[in-house]
Amino acid sequence: MYFALTDEQRALAETARDYLADRFDLTAVRAVFEDTAGDGHPAELWKAFAEQGWLAVLVPEENDGIGLGLLDAQVLARAFGTGAVPGPWLPTVLAGEAVRLAGSPAQRAAVLGPLAAGELVATVALRAPGGSFDQSGVGVTADAGPGGARLTGTASPVEYAGVARTAVVAAKEPDGGIGLYLVDPASPSVTVTALDTYDGTTRLGGLVLDGATGERLPESNAAVLAELNRRGAVLTAADLVGIARAALTRTIEYDKTRVQFGRPVGGFQVIKHTLADLHVGVLMAEHAVLYAAHAVDAELPDAELAVAVAKAKAGDAAQRATAAMIQYHGGIGYTWEHEAHFFYKRAKRLVATFGDAGEHLDRIAALSIDA
């Protein structure tokens, strides 16, 4: 029994944390956060991601990647949550996963190498407004046209739609199935709209496709879409856990020193108990993300359940911890100048990304009640 990160994984976590603390701390995050007109994609940071191998982590060695698993990737996602780090890491990595899982050898060679090297920013476009993160939520249809498939419909919100050079678009196919397609967002039959969001640590856009050309990933189907959504959920849960732990740790540190009524506010029993409960919740969420990532890697029979548990629990922990960060910093945590809102807003967005609590609880119910 070894339920923990390996020494290598721990080292990876430390490297990421140290790099971000040194080179892309919250001051750098703030610059991106406040530059709402900017693309939210600092070039230096991306270069470092490539150099550190953080884009290659899930890319197979045969495609010039490192070929590690989701457990390793979640180490990075967690570090990015801890640092509220902007940039298209998650959508790029997931687009890579789509190609790895369902692409032809030629597609894999064309996409994965550049992606691992930091030369290709990509994204995934898997649901329409109002939809859920499954087959039913897909808002694009694919029709056979002259010279290949034509895609029509909407996907939104899409992370970093404005900078991605390739988008993996999920589409309903004439036979009722699902396919994944490589689409060039710059093509004339694709309209990319920047969408305003409160979370300045990302950039979101809408894709409207009007008969756009799509290159099908030949092995793609509904199961691959589900697999992709699961992996997205695990990495999002890891980011949330990173946020939650950062929010809690920062609040504890502040409350140890902030004095009111002649003593540190962290000495008041109500605050102590709230922070203790939060710690238990965050710890459980950390466990759940570790387990889910491993369950997907090892194809354990309860992987689907584990992913839903991890996403639901991580979202809950992050929302509570970031709300508490504001409340238990007193007024200062409510100001723009303080960092609390980076974490609060990022958590608020990610809680609903790759399935909100309701979707995951419904899945857990189906697996445990109807089985």
């Binding site: 649901r127 407004p129 109002g130 939104s156 919100p157 969408l195 305003d196 969001t197 409160y198 979370d199 979101l204 004095v259 009111q260 009524f261 002649g262 008041f268 109500v270 605050i271 709300a323 504001i326 409340q327 007193g330 007024g331 200062i332 409510y334 100001t335 723009w336 100048e337 609390a340 809102h341 609060y344 807003k345 608020k348 967005r349 809680v351 609903a352 990304t353 909100d356 609590a357 309701g358």
Partner: protein
């Protein structure tokens, strides 16, 4: 049990409603209006509108007529609060002055203060700010350190206040200042009435997580105030402040109810637009929020009854604050749940603009902090209402 108002009160409501219908511009009814107007311009609109309202006879509803008030009943004041909320009337430009300072001046001000303060405030000639909190004195207000040192017949004030509403537009500030040097806790404090238009007073807007700036910081650097500009007597500042804050107790929560109930409907409409209003769990969650809002309405009637009966409300205001602030915050948590990922962007689909609701969702994170945090309110309820040991 009689939940009706008197015929006179209903007549007042109907006239007021008519006046509001005629005098609130249509544009103001758009929930997004005030965020589209630059801050300064918005404040001037509010100041001007409030002056007109006063001239139409709707200033100081429950104040004695000798102070320029209407001499109305508590029921009229509740009707006024409710109608203002229903009409989406803007927040008062002089709210803290009207709610807190004026009744305190009426109760313990000198004749000179009564003359100097109340009339000009009613006519919005002088905008009042409150200077209580400091960076090191939030929940623990008595830890305040802003100092006032007597120099001839003036105090020289140094220090900093924070969370000051309307400070960018204020004319005067009623501030708690430590006038006895070396004093501690609630001793040695005076409430000084400081002119903000002097070199020694600087206000800087404080941006919030929503991006807006309702509050500001105020810095005092050798600011000067006449010793006579002290309310309630030198060294009595704590007592004066407690009396001042007690006037919150008239506020029953009816204005919050009217506002939040409309928010509920707006949230439902947004969810419907995205087909999320049929989710059975979210429907129950919404219903739970309405339970708390309706209880707030009943509670407002209870408070109004107590006021009309002349009963001592004790620490009832802490209960009212807890109920409205927690219910309000949870309502907007439900907004997040209802909208899901689509609530993350301002306009998830055409013709749906979530900006106002998103703004309000962030605002609700502050309401459990200011005006006595939920933790402070629970202390008050536990000790003063339930009699539990300190």
């Amino acid at each position: 049990m009689d939940l009706t108002f008197t015929p006179q009160e209903e007549k007042f409501r109907s006239e007021l409603r008519g006046w509001l219908d005629a005098n609130i511009p249509a544009a103001w009814r758009d929930p997004g209006f005030w965020r589209t107007v630059p801050d300064d311009e918005g404040f001037e609109l509010r100041r001007d509108w409030e002056r007109r309202k006063y001239e139409a006879g709707y200033g100081g509803i429950a104040w004695p007529t000798e102070y320029g008030g209407l001499g109305g009943t508590p029921g009229m004041k509740a009707i006024y609060d409710e109608e203002m909320a229903l009409a989406r009337a803007p927040l008062s430009a002089n709210g803290l002055g009207l709610t807190f300072l004026a009744p305190t001046v009426m109760a313990i001000g000198t004749d000179q203060q009564k003359r100097d303060i109340i009339g000009p405030m009613l006519r919005n000639e002088v905008i009042w700010c409150q200077g209580f909190s400091e960076p090191g004195a939030g929940s623990d207000l008595a830890a305040l350190r802003t100092s006032g040192v007597l120099d001839g017949d003036e105090y020289v004030v140094n220090g900093q206040k924070i969370w000051t509403t309307n400070a960018m537009h204020g004319d005067k500030l009623f501030a708690l200042v430590r006038t006895e040097q070396g004093s501690e806790a609630h001793r040695g404090i005076s409430m000084l009435l400081i002119d903000m238009h002097q070199p020694g007073v600087e206000a800087r807007p404080l941006r919030q997580i929503s991006g807006a700036s309702e509050f500001a910081e105020v810095f005092f650097t050798d600011a000067r105030v006449k010793a006579s500009e002290c309310l309630g007597g030198v060294g009595n500042g704590w007592k004066t402040a407690m009396m001042l804050l007690s006037f919150e107790r008239g506020a029953s929560g009816i204005s919050q109810y009217a506002t939040f109930r409309r928010g509920y409907d707006e949230i439902v409409a947004a969810a419907r637009r995205l087909g999320r209003d049929t989710d059975p769990t979210l429907r129950r969650e919404l219903a739970s929020r309405l339970v708390e809002l309706e209880c707030l309405r009943y509670h407002a009637m209870h408070v109004l009854t107590q006021v009309e009966q002349g009963r001592d409300l004790g620490s009832e205001s802490s209960i009212t604050k807890l109920q409205w602030s927690e219910a309000y915050q949870k309502l907007f948590e439900t907004f997040d749940h209802l909208l899901g990922l689509d609530g993350v962007v301002t306009s998830p689909v055409e013709d749906l603009d979530l900006a106002s609701l998103q703004y309000e969702a962030f605002w609700t994170r502050s309401v459990t902090i200011w005006g006595g945090s939920s933790q402070v309110q629970r202390n008050i309820v536990a000790e003063r209402v339930l009699g539990l040991p300190r």
